[in-house]
C-alpha cells in the first residue's frame, strides 16, 4: 500500500472502502461500469427521451459521483475509465453521434469530479447528512455550485446534437436542473444505503413497520396528489401538491436523513414517471418546458427536506451522545464507588445516580430524594451534614464534608461528599451538583494508622518516663517525706496535750497541701502514661511548659541544668491535645538535656521562649548550649531511627514532627550561632 497522509488513512478506515489491493480496485471498477450502464438503461426505461431532451435526472452521473466521493482522487481515473465503455455502450444504443457522446461523457465526468472534489475538500464525510453543516454543504455544492458550473459545458451537448446556439441559456438551465435533481433525489439515498448497508436488518420490527407504513401512505398520497388526468389546466387544485408534505415531515422526523432522502427519491420517481408518461401535471406547453418545471419543483422541495432530515439526525445524535455520556459517567462513577447527584434550586428537586441508593443503604425501589438520604445519616453526624447542605444551598458555595450512614448491614459506612454550585447564565446559582463517595476504607486505614501512631507515641512517652524515673521518684518522695514527717510530728504533739492543737491544725493543712502535690505528680504521670484518644482543647502553652518543667525538676537539678524562661504572658491559647504537646516538650527538653552532658555544669542552661505569631498562633523556642546537631543533618533528625545518642531509638523527633503535623503546626531544628541547638515549633491559631 502506498504511503498515505495520515488524515487520508483515517478517512479510508472510516469509509471502510476496499482499496487495499488491485483486485478490489478492479472489482469496484467493474461494479461502477455495470451500475453506470444499468443506470443509463433505467433512465431510458423510465423514458428520458434523451434523443430529444435531457433526462430529468441521469442516474449514471450519480453512480460515478458516488464512486468518486467514496474513493481517493488518485484512483478516480480507474472509475472514469471503467465508466467510459458503459457510457459508449449505452449512448450508442440510442444512436448518439460520436462527438456528442464524447462531450456528454466529458461533462458527466466533470460534474462528478467537481462534486466529489469539492465535497471531499469541504470534509463532507460519513455519516452523510448527519449534521446541518454537512447537509448544507452538500446541497450547496452538489445541487447548486457544481451542476451550475458544469452546465456551461453540458449545454454544448445539445448544440452538438443540432440545437441552436441561441437557446444556450435554456440548455444550460436544463442541464443544470437535471444534474441538480439527480444530486438531490438519488445521490443522498444511495450514499445512505451504502453507508448503512446493515441498517434494515438492525431495524427493530416496529420501526420497520413504521417505515413500511410511511411508504404505503406516501404511495396513496402520491396517487391522490398526482392523480392521472389532472392538470392545472384541467382544474387541478395546486394546493394538492402539498399533500405529501406531512408524510415527508413524518419520514424526516422519524427517520432523519434516511427517511427524508428516501421520500424525496420516491416522490421524484413518481413525478418523473407521471411527467414523462402521462398527461403533464406541469402543463406549460412543450414537454421540455414541462419537465423543467417539474425539475424546479422537485429541487425546491427536496433541498429543505434534506436539510430538515439532517437537522433531526443531528439533534438525535446529540441526544444519543449526551445520554451515552451520562450513562458512561454513571457507570464509571458507580464502578469507582461514587454516586453523582444534582439539586435544582428553582424546583427543589434532587436527582442522583442509582449507586446513591447503594451508598445510603436504600432499597432499590425507594426514590433517593434528599430527605430520605439525610435520614440515613448517623445521628452524631446528622447536624453537621444537614448544616453543610443547607448552607451550601443557601450560599451556593462549594463544600466538602464527611459523615457516616447506616449501611445495609449492622455497621456504618463513611461517605464523603464534595459539591459545587452550578452557575446559570445570569450569574446566580441554579443548582448544586456533587458526588458522594464511599470513604469507609480510607477512614478505616486512617484509623488504623492513627492507632499505630498513637501506640508508638505512647511507647515513646513510657520510655521517656522510664529514663526519667529517678527524677520522677524524687518528685514523689518529696511530698511523701513532708507528709510522713508532719504526721509523725503531729503524733508527738498530740501526746503533749491541748496546747499544741493550733500547730496540729497547721500540720493537717500542710499534709493536705503536700498530698495535693503528690497527686499532681501522679496525675501528670498518668496523663503521659495512659493510652488515650487524641482530645483537642484549648491549651495554655506557658502552663504546659511549667508543668513539664515541674516533672523534670529533679532531673534538671541532678544534671545541674538551669532554666532561662522567657515566656510571653499574653500568649494566646493553643488548640491541641495537651498530652501529645507535652510529649513534644518533654522530648525536646530531654534532647536538650542530653546534648549538654559534656558541657561543664556551670554552663548548662536551657532557654525557653514563647511568642505569639503574626497569624495568631504560637511559637515555642527551646534552646540549649550543648553539642548542637551534626553538620548538614538538620533534616535527617526527623527521619525515623536517626539518632546521635548511644542508647537512642531515633523515634523521638520523628514522633514529635508527626504530632506537630497532626496539629497543623511545624517543628524545626537548627544550630545556634554560638553554641548548641534550638528547636522551634509552631502551632496555628485555633481553627473555626
Amino acid at each position: 500500500m502506498d504511503v498515505l497522509v495520515p488524515e487520508v488513512a483515517i478517512q479510508e478506515r472510516q469509509k471502510g472502502m476496499p482499496h487495499e489491493d488491485r483486485g478490489k480496485t478492479f472489482r469496484n471498477g467493474l461494479i461502477v461500469a455495470i451500475a453506470y450502464y444499468v443506470g443509463a438503461e433505467i433512465a431510458f426505461l423510465v423514458g428520458t427521451l434523451s434523443d430529444k431532451i435531457f433526462a430529468p435526472f441521469w442516474p449514471p452521473n450519480i453512480v460515478l459521483f458516488c464512486a468518486l466521493l467514496l474513493s481517493f482522487p488518485r484512483q478516480w481515473w480507474i472509475y472514469i475509465l471503467a465508466a467510459f465503455p458503459a457510457h459508449v455502450a449505452a449512448e450508442l444504443q440510442v444512436g448518439m453521434p460520436i462527438m456528442q457522446l464524447l462531450v456528454a461523457f466529458a461533462t458527466n465526468c466533470s460534474v462528478a469530479v467537481i462534486n466529489a472534489f469539492l465535497l471531499q475538500q469541504l470534509q463532507f464525510e460519513q455519516p452523510w447528512f448527519g449534521s446541518i453543516r454537512k447537509a448544507t454543504t452538500y446541497v450547496f455544492i452538489a445541487a447548486f455550485v457544481s451542476p451550475a458550473l458544469c452546465a456551461f459545458g453540458g449545454a454544448f451537448v445539445q448544440i452538438l446534437g443540432g440545437g441552436s446556439l441561441e437557446n444556450y441559456g435554456l440548455y444550460w438551465a436544463r442541464w443544470y436542473a437535471s444534474n441538480a435533481l439527480g444530486s438531490l433525489a438519488l445521490a443522498p439515498i444511495v450514499l445512505i444505503c451504502l453507508e448503512k448497508l446493515t441498517w434494515f436488518s438492525l431495524t427493530p420490527a416496529l420501526r420497520g413497520l413504521e417505515a413500511m407504513l410511511i411508504a404505503a401512505v406516501l404511495a396513496i398520497t402520491c396517487i391522490v396528489a398526482f392523480k392521472e388526468g389532472d392538470t392545472i389546466a384541467s382544474g387541478y387544485v395546486p394546493a394538492l401538491l402539498y399533500l405529501p408534505l406531512p408524510i415527508i415531515v413524518w419520514a424526516a422526523v422519524r427517520f432523519g436523513a434516511t427517511g427524508a432522502s428516501g421520500v424525496i427519491m420516491v416522490i421524484s420517481l413518481v413525478l418523473i414517471w407521471r411527467t414523462l408518461n402521462g398527461q403533464n401535471l406541469f402543463d406549460v406547453g412543450d414537454p421540455e418546458a414541462n419537465v423543467f418545471a417539474m425539475q424546479l419543483f422537485l429541487i425546491g422541495l427536496s433541498s429543505p427536506i434534506l436539510l430538515l432530515g439532517a437537522a433531526i439526525e443531528e439533534t438525535r445524535h446529540a441526544e444519543t451522545v449526551t445520554r451515552e455520556r451520562e450513562e458512561r459517567m454513571s457507570v464509571a462513577a458507580a464502578s469507582s464507588s461514587v454516586a453523582l447527584w444534582q439539586y435544582e434550586l428553582a424546583t427543589d428537586t434532587f436527582w442522583a445516580t442509582d449507586y446513591c441508593r447503594t451508598l445510603f443503604g436504600l432499597p432499590s425501589g425507594v426514590p433517593s430524594d434528599l430527605d430520605r438520604l439525610l435520614n440515613r445519616i448517623h445521628p452524631n453526624d446528622f447536624q453537621t451534614a444537614q448544616a453543610a447542605f443547607k448552607s451550601a444551598i443557601a450560599r451556593a458555595v462549594p463544600f466538602e464534608t464527611e459523615f457516616r450512614v447506616q449501611g445495609h448491614d449492622e455497621g456504618y459506612r463513611w461517605i464523603s461528599v464534595r459539591a459545587q454550585p452550578v452557575i446559570g447564565n445570569d450569574g446566580s446559582p441554579t443548582a448544586i451538583t456533587g458526588a458522594f463517595a464511599d470513604s469507609t476504607s480510607r477512614k478505616m486505614a486512617e484509623a488504623e494508622s492513627d492507632m499505630q501512631r498513637q501506640e508508638i507515641a505512647h511507647l515513646m512517652r513510657v520510655s521517656m518516663l522510664g529514663e526519667l524515673s529517678g527524677g520522677l521518684a524524687h518528685e514523689l518522695t518529696q511530698p511523701l517525706t513532708a507528709i510522713l514527717s508532719n504526721a509523725q510530728a503531729g503524733k508527738i504533739l498530740l501526746a503533749g496535750g491541748k496546747k499544741n492543737l493550733a500547730e496540729i491544725g497547721n500540720i493537717f493543712d500542710d499534709i493536705i497541701t503536700e498530698d495535693g502535690r503528690a497527686g499532681e505528680v501522679i496525675h501528670r504521670l498518668r496523663g503521659l502514661l495512659k493510652k488515650g484518644e487524641i482530645k483537642y482543647e484549648a491549651v495554655d502553652m506557658n502552663e504546659l511548659i511549667a508543668s513539664t518543667l515541674r516533672l523534670l525538676h529533679s532531673e534538671l537539678i541532678d544534671r545541674r541544668i538551669s532554666i532561662n524562661d522567657e515566656k510571653n504572658i499574653d500568649l494566646p491559647p493553643a488548640h491541641g491535645d495537651p498530652i501529645q504537646l507535652q510529649q513534644v516538650l518533654l522530648n525536646l527538653f530531654m534532647n536538650a538535656m542530653d546534648a549538654m552532658d559534656g558541657v561543664p555544669p556551670a554552663q548548662r542552661a536551657i532557654s525557653i521562649n514563647t511568642a505569639a505569631t503574626n497569624e495568631g498562633g504560637i511559637e515555642v523556642r527551646i534552646s540549649d548550649c550543648g553539642t548542637g546537631l551534626p553538620p548538614a543533618q538538620e533534616q535527617s533528625v526527623f527521619k525515623p531511627f536517626f539518632t546521635t545518642k548511644k542508647r537512642g531509638l531515633g523515634l523521638g523527633l520523628a514522633i514529635c514532627a508527626s504530632i506537630m503535623k497532626l496539629h497543623g503546626g511545624s517543628l524545626s531544628l537548627q544550630n545556634n550561632v554560638s553554641k548548641g541547638a534550638m528547636a522551634i515549633f509552631r502551632l496555628p491559631p485555633p481553627g473555626p
Binding site: H474, N486, A489
Partner: protein, 211 residues
C-alpha cells in the same frame, strides 16, 4: 545526753520538706534552725554553737556533698546527716568518708532520724569536749617558761632530776624547783598524769643520748 543549746541546722530547698522536718524535730524538743538555701546556711554558720546539720543531698544551688566540703574547708567539724530521695551507693560512700554521721533515705522515719540526731549529738559533744580539753592544755602549756618546758620533755622521757640537771648543765636542786613549778602550772600531781597530758598535747619526749 544533749548539750545545752544543741541546735539542728536543717538545709533543704524544698520548703514543704524543710517545714515538716523542722516541725518533727521541734516536737521532739530539738532546737532547730532552717535554711532553704545552702549558701544562706554557709554564710550564717556559727561553728561554736553545738549541734548537727541535716542536709538534703539534691539541691538546686549546689548539692549536699559540696556543702559538706565547704564546711570541712572552713574548719568546722559540724556532724552532718544527709537526707536523700534516691541515694546511690557511690554518693553515700563519698559522704560517709568525708565524715557524715548518717545517710538517710526519704521519706525518713522519725526513729531513724532521731537516732541519727542523737548520734550526731554525741559526736558533736565528744568533739567539742576534746577540743575544749586540748584548748585548756594548750593554754596551760603556754604559761611554761622555756626551762620548765625543757624539764617537761625530760621528765616524760623518764629522766631523773639528777640526769636532767646534768643534761641542762645545772644542779639537781634547781631542776627540782622547775619541775615543781611546771607540775603546778599544768595542774598535774603525778608523772603519769603529766605523761597523759603531754600525749594529748602531742609533746614529744626529749631525745636523750645514752650514756
Amino acid at each position: 545526753m544533749r548539750e545545752a543549746g544543741f541546735t539542728t541546722f536543717l538545709v533543704d530547698d524544698d520548703p514543704g520538706v524543710l517545714r515538716s522536718i523542722t516541725r518533727l524535730l521541734n516536737a521532739a524538743g530539738y532546737k532547730t534552725q532552717s535554711f532553704s538555701s545552702p549558701r544562706e546556711f554557709l554564710s550564717s554558720h556559727d561553728p561554736t554553737v553545738p549541734g548537727c546539720a541535716i542536709i538534703d543531698l539534691v539541691m538546686s544551688e549546689f548539692d549536699g556533698l559540696h556543702l559538706q566540703q565547704a564546711l570541712i574547708d572552713s574548719g568546722s567539724e559540724r556532724p552532718i546527716i544527709f537526707l536523700t530521695g534516691n541515694g546511690d551507693i557511690s554518693t553515700s560512700v563519698t559522704a560517709m568518708k568525708a565524715g557524715a554521721v548518717d545517710f538517710l533515705t526519704k521519706p525518713v522515719k522519725r526513729e531513724a532520724l532521731f537516732s541519727a540526731v542523737v548520734r550526731a549529738a554525741n559526736v558533736d559533744a565528744a568533739s567539742r569536749k576534746k577540743r575544749k580539753e586540748s584548748k585548756s592544755i594548750g593554754d596551760r602549756l603556754a604559761t611554761l617558761t622555756h626551762r620548765e618546758r625543757e624539764v617537761l620533755e625530760f621528765v616524760i622521757a623518764g629522766r631523773l632530776n639528777k640526769q636532767i640537771a646534768a643534761s641542762l648543765g645545772t644542779v639537781e636542786k634547781t631542776v627540782k624547783v622547775h619541775r615543781g613549778r611546771m607540775m603546778a602550772k599544768l595542774g598535774v600531781r603525778s608523772v603519769a598524769d603529766l605523761v597523759r597530758l603531754a600525749d594529748k598535747a602531742g609533746i614529744a619526749p626529749a631525745h636523750v643520748l645514752s650514756e
